[in-house]
């Protein structure tokens, strides 16, 4: 993996009124390989968009460096970076047709002479076909649906063949169904075009489904940078565990830790065994991450944890039970297949924990 974009201790401070400033981005280090699909994921205000805009050149970093293929581009103007951005509000030019919008990047002065009129027409047609809009070339943006507008904006960004494409919540203003369709479209484009995609979203499903790697951000910092699987299965902090997949975290302390696995004791005295090797101090306080799909319900005595069903929610694909653990040790959610024998509110149940998937996160 050759390094495409590298961020070194990137920081951005916004000055507020009366000198009260705040760090929107507070020391981001990241290496993004060429051709990777990397997502910056986090809640609003976490610094993900500011980071993207610094990569694009729209914001000037307060300190730190941005490198591209090893060359410092921190002070390079936007127009010289030749990275293309796809905006949440599409940012189409309303006075131009779809074809003119797509051709815009080929017609600017810096592109002058690179493409003849016939070549330009052919290319516009090719990229409109790429996003399935071949028949809409002469329409105006206001005649298109939201999904179509974003496809135009994609074609406009891709037509100049940039190495790096930046996405600022591009599906944010589309409805749920269209988002799914566009996700598949984006994955296809990434696979076919072999470009670096840097993608900003607050939607974790979107991030998980599309990315080679995800940077989970909060408070201007990268909390964890890894593959979707690493982030989901082995979060390194309570924040990431809680943000991704809505895991529930139960307070526990280490009983035994070693190469063969780990056992932790909950507040109510019950003990859970995990397969993952660990080297933690006996008695150390940890958070036990329990995801709904890693738990199953059983009759009392048939599992390592016990509790009482407080709610059951029929979700169609599965039934979601809310279980209060014995002795007030915590609350967890459990997904059970709809064909399993149902439990009701107030039932005493046992919980089996999948030892391969349960995970602990450090510190209190």
């Amino acid at each position: 993996m050759t390094t495409g974009i590298e961020l070194r201790d990137l920081r951005k401070r916004y000055e507020g009124h009366g000198g009260a400033g705040s760090w929107a981005v507070d020391g981001v280090d990241m290496q993004i390989g060429r051709g990777q699909f990397v997502t910056l994921l986090g809640p609003s205000g976490c610094g993900k968009t500011t980071t993207l805009r610094m990569i694009a050149g729209f914001e000037v970093p307060t300190s730190g460096q941005i490198l591209r293929d090893g060359v410092d581009i921190t002070d390079q103007p936007v127009t010289d970076r030749e990275m293309r951005m796809v905006f949440q509000d599409f940012a189409l030019f309303p006075n131009m047709t779809v074809a003119e919008n797509v051709a815009f990047g080929l017609k600017t002065r810096r592109m002058k002479g690179r493409f003849g009129a016939a070549e330009m027409r052919r290319r516009v047609g090719e990229y409109l076909d790429l996003v399935h809009l071949g028949t809409h070339a002469d329409k105006r943006p206001h005649q298109l649906s939201g999904g179509q507008k974003q496809r135009v904006s994609l074609a406009r960004a891709l037509i100049t063949d940039p190495d790096v494409v930046l996405f600022d919540e591009p599906l944010g203003s589309l409805d749920a169904h269209l988002r799914k369709v566009m996700q598949i479209e984006l994955i296809r484009l990434h696979r076919e075009l072999n470009k670096t995609f840097i993608y900003v979203t607050h939607d974790q499903d979107e991030a998980m489904a599309m990315s080679d790697a995800i940077a989970v951000m909060n408070g201007g910092k990268v909390q964890q940078f890894g593959t979707p699987r690493e982030i989901y299965d082995r979060p390194t902090s309570r924040y990431v565990a809680g943000f991704i997949g809505h895991a529930h975290i139960v307070e526990a302390s280490v009983v035994e830790s070693g190469a063969s696995g780990l056992s932790v004791r909950l507040g109510n005295g019950e003990v859970v065994r995990l397969d993952a090797p660990a080297s933690l101090q006996r008695g150390e306080a940890v958070g036990l991450m329990l995801r709904a799909e890693d738990l199953s319900l059983a009759k009392p005595g048939d599992g390592e944890l016990h509790g009482k069903v407080s709610d059951s929610l029929y979700r169609g694909e599965y039934i979601e039970y809310v279980v209060d653990l014995k002795g007030g040790a915590g609350t967890v959610h459990v997904h059970e297949p709809t064909h399993a024998a149902p439990f009701a509110h107030g039932d005493d149940v046992a919980l089996k924990v999948n030892p391969a998937k349960a995970h602990v996160v450090g510190g209190a």
Partner: protein, 266 residues
């Protein structure tokens, strides 16, 4: 939607408002065709005599052209200085920006006579000779804020992502202006030009103080009216009403175009 309220009351109120608004205009139009040298009843018969008189009245015709000349100059001044000012307000940070934004409306919020006195003493200090050009300069200074506020509001509504997209696609400043900014503000700019033109055309307070030897139409009509309401004045007024209606219709078509552009911005 179902009508509500006392229908006869609403109707009569509306009719009264329309009557007081338009009846005076109608009276002027009617009497401009009346074959009598007094403005008043009885209606003696239809004539275009007063229009012929008007066309041969060198004082009135001259001042109409003066007014058009001044108004066109005012529009040019407003666009040349107002458009860049609006773009600067929207896009750039500069010292005093906040203050500039707040006081930009001052020249038309202030009573015209104050603006006029201020401009007059300023020009006299600079030893500028009063002429149509000082009127142009004075009105242009005062009316520029219409262009600034109209265009600035449109720019704010457009947001910055179109501009950023253009820059991102390699456009230089001129290309951004030519392909994004100008098409985006075109309809508000055109509207501001129409408003500036029509305000300039009938402006008296500032004009009165800055006039040199040549008069604009409102000044001429005013001095004529101090003697009596002549039918020629009615004819001039009727022509101006006709031109205004045409301008309003053009303005409405332009703002309809703006509606379509606005819906794309959503």
């Amino acid at each position: 939607m179902r009508a509500f309220g006392n229908r006869p009351f609403v109707l009569s109120l509306a009719s009264l408002v329309l009557f007081f608004l338009y009846a005076p205009l109608l009276v002027i139009v009617v009497f401009s065709f009346n074959d009598s040298s007094y403005t008043g009843l009885p209606f003696n018969g239809f004539t275009l005599h007063w229009y012929a008189d008007l066309l041969s009245n060198r004082q009135i015709m001259g001042s109409i052209w003066n007014s058009v000349y001044v108004a066109v100059g005012v529009v040019i001044l407003s666009v040349v200085f107002g458009l860049p000012a609006a773009i600067a307000l929207d896009r750039y940070e500069f010292p005093g920006k906040g203050i500039f934004r707040r006081i930009v409306m001052l020249p038309i919020v202030l009573p015209g006579i104050i603006t006029g006195v201020a401009l007059l003493s300023f020009y006299l200090t600079l030893n500028l000779k009063l002429s149509l050009h000082t009127i142009m300069l004075g009105q242009g200074t005062a009316l520029m804020c219409i262009t600034i506020t109209e265009v600035f509001a449109r720019l704010q509504q457009m947001g910055k992502s179109q501009t950023e997209a253009a820059v991102n696609l390699g456009a230089n400043d001129w290309e951004v202006f030519r392909h994004v900014t100008l098409p985006g503000v075109r309809s508000s700019l055109f509207g501001a030009m129409l408003i500036s033109f029509s305000i300039s055309f009938d402006e008296i307070a500032v004009t009165f103080l800055l006039t040199g030897r040549e008069n604009t139409l409102p000044m001429t009509l005013w001095s004529l009216l101090r003697r009596e309401v002549t039918p020629e004045v009615n004819a001039a007024a009727t022509l101006i009403i006709a031109v205004s209606v045409v301008l309003i219709v053009i303005g409405m078509y332009a703002s309809r175009g703006k509606g379509a552009a606005g819906s794309e911005g959503r």
